[in-house]
């Protein structure tokens, strides 16, 4: 048999191999350790190499784009040597970026051509002429006159607490002051401007002016600290919503909120509501402190907040009874909340800062989804687009610039890492990607963290999606999610909470105990993905449009920085469509709140979006339950809806 010479860049000597040898085998001979997480089956694409001279026969190019192949890329485990070749092994990080299935959340950038004038908070520096016996104009009039001259605005409002302080402030730095004015709000677009605060002396123009964009998720609360003058996001922080301990989903929160106490109660709705309000305020205020510390800002210098969240979260934040959301005919107290002062809301920012809670559509389609639609650009899209916010309350919107229909389905917190035994948020120590070798059932995973060899603490949403897909494809669980206990591996075992798979042994974990996924976790994940898939099946059916006709699929959610689209399709969370139709937008609700914070036009668009969306109540229809049970299977009871998964199953 013919022998060929294989030269690996970086290897000291070429190796000689026979025709038919795999590149991966040749690499091993050359002493090169190629990563093969999937066990050399061409599933994961991690062993991609670049052929720089000669060529190899590629048995599979599943993980490579045509461009990759043209550039000489080949999967080492799937490429057969039939002649002399030279091969370069790209760095692992380079390979990861090449993968066609990975969707990293798009970066947050300042809107193109941003000007601070697009938003209503203005800092104005003034030097007033001091009063004397000739000019006995009162302080307030003097201030207003100066402001009028500077800004061209006719009249200003002011609060009593500030009015009490203006005298000393004006005099403190010899009549040099800096005023913060709010020119308008969405609910009084042409109304009187108001003075938010007045500081002695001249604050330099370059000093940041802080605003926050907050997304109150049922499970995760995100807060972005933004410099309103430049539009730059200076800090992004997130934490689990403190209310989780009082119920995992909106319904249990609503029920908890109505818990009565024998004591007289300052909030209507019940003692529980008061507690829930305190908990979410505590979460937001803690996040605020963390974010401000990062940029050495004083939380009290934050002068504007926009808040996105589902209707229940907004009601609980504001202490508005939310019981009616749960009861037919499912009506909220308020969908379009007026702008409120921070002190009254309870945010520990500037007490007179404006808090703008974004508008919702219906009881179960809240401001988070209208903000999400804004940030996804769906309302302006030509193409029919499917947008989904994979959250505890999964919201789905289908449409384009002509029409928008929406529905909501209770998915539970599993994809945010909550309600799963070793689930966690997508932070340091979380497993965010995982492959399981289908011969040995041994996992290979990637942990979020800067330190090389960082140890795992748990699994975040994107990791759970990948894990579920791998367990399924390798046959560790069957299509209904039950473990096969007869496999020759110690990783599948009967644990305290039923059958489980050990992802990380205690000795290798950060926590010092085994990291596992249990049967109960799998049930939670299955229910979550089934609810979401059933949601858009029903939605598409209502519109009379097959799902495949959606020209793009936009995914929002706070389950991680990236999503492996292929894995999400394999478990039946996402519809089986060409991978290039998917785009991952990250936390779309927070992004929408950010855009509304920066731009009154964007804020107006959210109101417009909220009023344009047609809401479909899934509970009013029995097809949802059927679709749900049908989707409660891997990937789906009707495999013909998932042709690529069907093909992948045949291969494994």
């Amino acid at each position: 048999m013919a022998e060929h010479i294989i030269t690996f860049a970086g290897a000291p000597v070429p190796v000689h191999v026979a025709t038919g040898t795999l590149v991966s085998e040749a690499a091993q001979l050359a002493g090169i350790d190629l990563q093969q997480p999937c066990g050399g089956q061409g599933r994961c694409g991690r062993c991609a190499v670049q052929v720089t001279a000669g060529d190899v026969r590629r048995r599979s190019t599943l993980r490579l784009s045509p461009d990759d192949v043209a550039a000489g890329y080949a999967l080492a485990c799937q490429s057969v040597i039939e002649g002399d070749v030279s091969i370069t092994i790209p760095p692992q990080a380079g390979i990861e970026r090449r993968l066609t299935t990975d969707r990293t959340a798009i970066e947050v950038t300042v809107p193109l051509g941003y000007s601070a004038a697009a938003q209503p908070m203005r800092r104005v520096t003034l030097t007033l002429s001091p009063p004397d016996t000739q000019d006995q104009t009162d302080d307030w009039s003097r201030l207003q006159t100066a402001l009028r001259q500077q800004t061209g605005i006719g009249a200003f409002g002011i609060s009593l607490p500030l009015l009490r302080r203006i005298g000393p402030i004006l005099r403190a730095q010899n009549w040099a002051v800096t005023a913060l004015i709010e020119t308008d709000t969405w609910d009084r677009p042409t109304g009187a401007a108001r003075i938010v605060d007045l500081w002695p002396g001249i604050i330099p123009d370059a000093a940041p002016l802080w605003g926050i964009a907050v997304d109150i998720g049922t499970t995760t609360v995100s807060l972005w600290l933004v410099d309103l003058l430049t539009g730059v996001v200076r800090a992004q922080v997130a934490e689990y919503n403190g209310q989780i301990s009082r119920g995992e989903d909106v319904i249990s929160r609503i029920i908890y909120s109505t818990k009565k106490s024998p004591l007289p109660n300052p909030l209507p709705g019940g003692e529980g509501a008061l507690e829930l309000r305190d908990l979410v305020l505590k979460t937001i205020n803690t996040l605020l402190v963390t974010a401000c510390k990062r940029v050495m800002a004083d939380p009290a210098s934050v002068v504007k907040a926009t808040v996105a969240g589902n209707s229940t979260m907004i009601h609980l934040l504001l202490g508005i009874p939310c019981e009616s959301i749960r009861l037919t005919p499912f009506v909220t107290t308020v969908n379009q909340t007026p702008v409120l002062p921070a002190a009254m809301v309870g945010l520990n920012i500037h007490p007179e800062a404006s808090v703008d809670c974004l508008p919702g559509v219906a009881s179960y389609v809240g401001a988070d989804i209208s903000a999400g639609v804004l940030s996804s650009g769906l309302d302006d899209a030509e193409a029919v687009t499917l947008f989904m916010d994979v959250g505890t309350n999964g919201e789905i919107v289908l449409g384009n610039r002509e029409w928008l229909v929406t529905c909501a389905c209770s998915a539970g917190p599993a994809f945010e890492g909550a309600g799963v035994q070793h689930g966690m948020r997508a932070t340091e120590g979380a497993i965010e990607e995982i492959w399981i070798n289908s011969d040995t059932y041994e996992p290979t995973y990637r942990v979020i963290g800067s330190a090389p060899g960082a140890r795992a603490r748990g699994v975040c949403g994107s990791g759970l999606i990948a894990l579920l897909a791998e367990l399924f494809l390798t046959g560790i669980i069957d299509r209904s999610g039950h473990f096969n206990l007869k496999l020759p591996t110690t990783r599948v075992r009967q644990g305290e909470h039923g059958d489980e798979y050990v992802i990380v042994w205690a000795a290798e974990s950060q926590t010092g105990s085994d990291i596992v996924i249990t049967r109960v976790d799998i049930d939670n994940l299955l229910r979550a993905k089934a609810a979401i898939y059933a949601g858009f099946s029903v939605l598409a059916e209502k519109v009379g449009m097959p799902l495949e006709m959606a020209e793009q699929v936009l995914i929002g959610g706070s389950f991680g920085k990236y999503i492996n689209v292929e894995k999400a399709v394999e478990i039946g969370l996402l519809p089986d469509m060409p991978w290039d139709r998917f785009k991952f937008l990250g936390n779309t609700a927070a992004r929408g709140a950010y855009l509304a914070l920066l731009d009154r036009a964007a804020r107006a668009r959210i109101t417009d979006i909220a009023s344009r969306m047609t809401y479909i109540e899934l509970t009013a229809d029995n097809s949802f339950y059927d679709e749900f049970i049908s989707a409660l299977f891997l990937p789906h009871t009707d495999l013909s809806r998932f042709p690529t998964v069907q093909a992948a199953l045949k291969k494994v």
């Binding site: 069957d478 299509r479 209904s480 039950h482 096969n484 007869k486 059927d626 049908s630 009871t637």
Partner: protein, 321 residues
Amino acid sequence: MPPQVEIPKDSWSGSVTTVTLGATAAEGGTRSHTVTVGGHKSLPFMHFEQKMSHRPVVALEIKDHRPEDWSPLLLELWGQAANDPASWAKAAEQAGAELLVLSLSQTGSDGNPTTPETAVAAVQSVLKASGLPLLVFAPGQAELDNTLLVPVAEATRGERLVLGICEDKNYRTIVATAMANDHLISTRTPMDVNLAKQLNILVRDMGIPTDRILMDPTTGALGYGIEYGYSVMERLRLAALQGDGNTQSPMIVTPGAEAWKAKEAKIGHDVPASWGDWKERAINWETLTAVALIESGADIVVLRHPESLRRVRAAIDELMI
């Protein structure tokens, strides 16, 4: 002149799988004959569209020992025969059963859990006593079921028994032993089309041929959810005829067990006089439940009372004309 009426005929792309229960000596078993069900190419009894390939079959249920929880009406009727599975099997065959269902009890008559040895002995004695094809249903507790069914399957290799019940939480062992020993399986799901399909997919994923699968979509007795069960069966059969391969197994249901759980069948005293004669009422309950299910597409109905069997069969005879 009488009006000319043209009866519209549906034609379907799919059909119900044909399944043969039991094996004769020539086929590697010991049954005197086999029973074949399924094969339908149209909805039940739509003879003008397609002749029904195999008529619905009535099975009688017997136990491995005298069941203390059965209605006194049944125990009185079977009398001494119920004391021992072999004599019970004989009596059931004489009463006209086309198939026998032997349900294994969770515990023996001594109160201890049923052992594999007693289960195998019961099955073998039934096979000796009667030449009818046999279905063996385990008590319904995953671990115990597997412990009992594996030795039963091995001891009766080649008989093409139906082993039950496969559920989504416990099917691997039963399917594997059925395949290894040339038997059939029966699956059971709680009254839901999708769940029935899913379990069918799971067992087929293990490689068992479709002509060895019966499915039990579960039913409720008359007055206890029968309309739900009926509708699920009807939808399953419609899906099967439309070509959905995961709904094409012949359907087996247990109206006997369901009806005899109903208060109307179980209780003979302290009930309104208008309820009429207890025995007649109980038999009616079982018969009406079974006949309704046959009309929704059941291929095998499992009954407990021979008089119900006679009445159900009479109904089938009429429906087959």
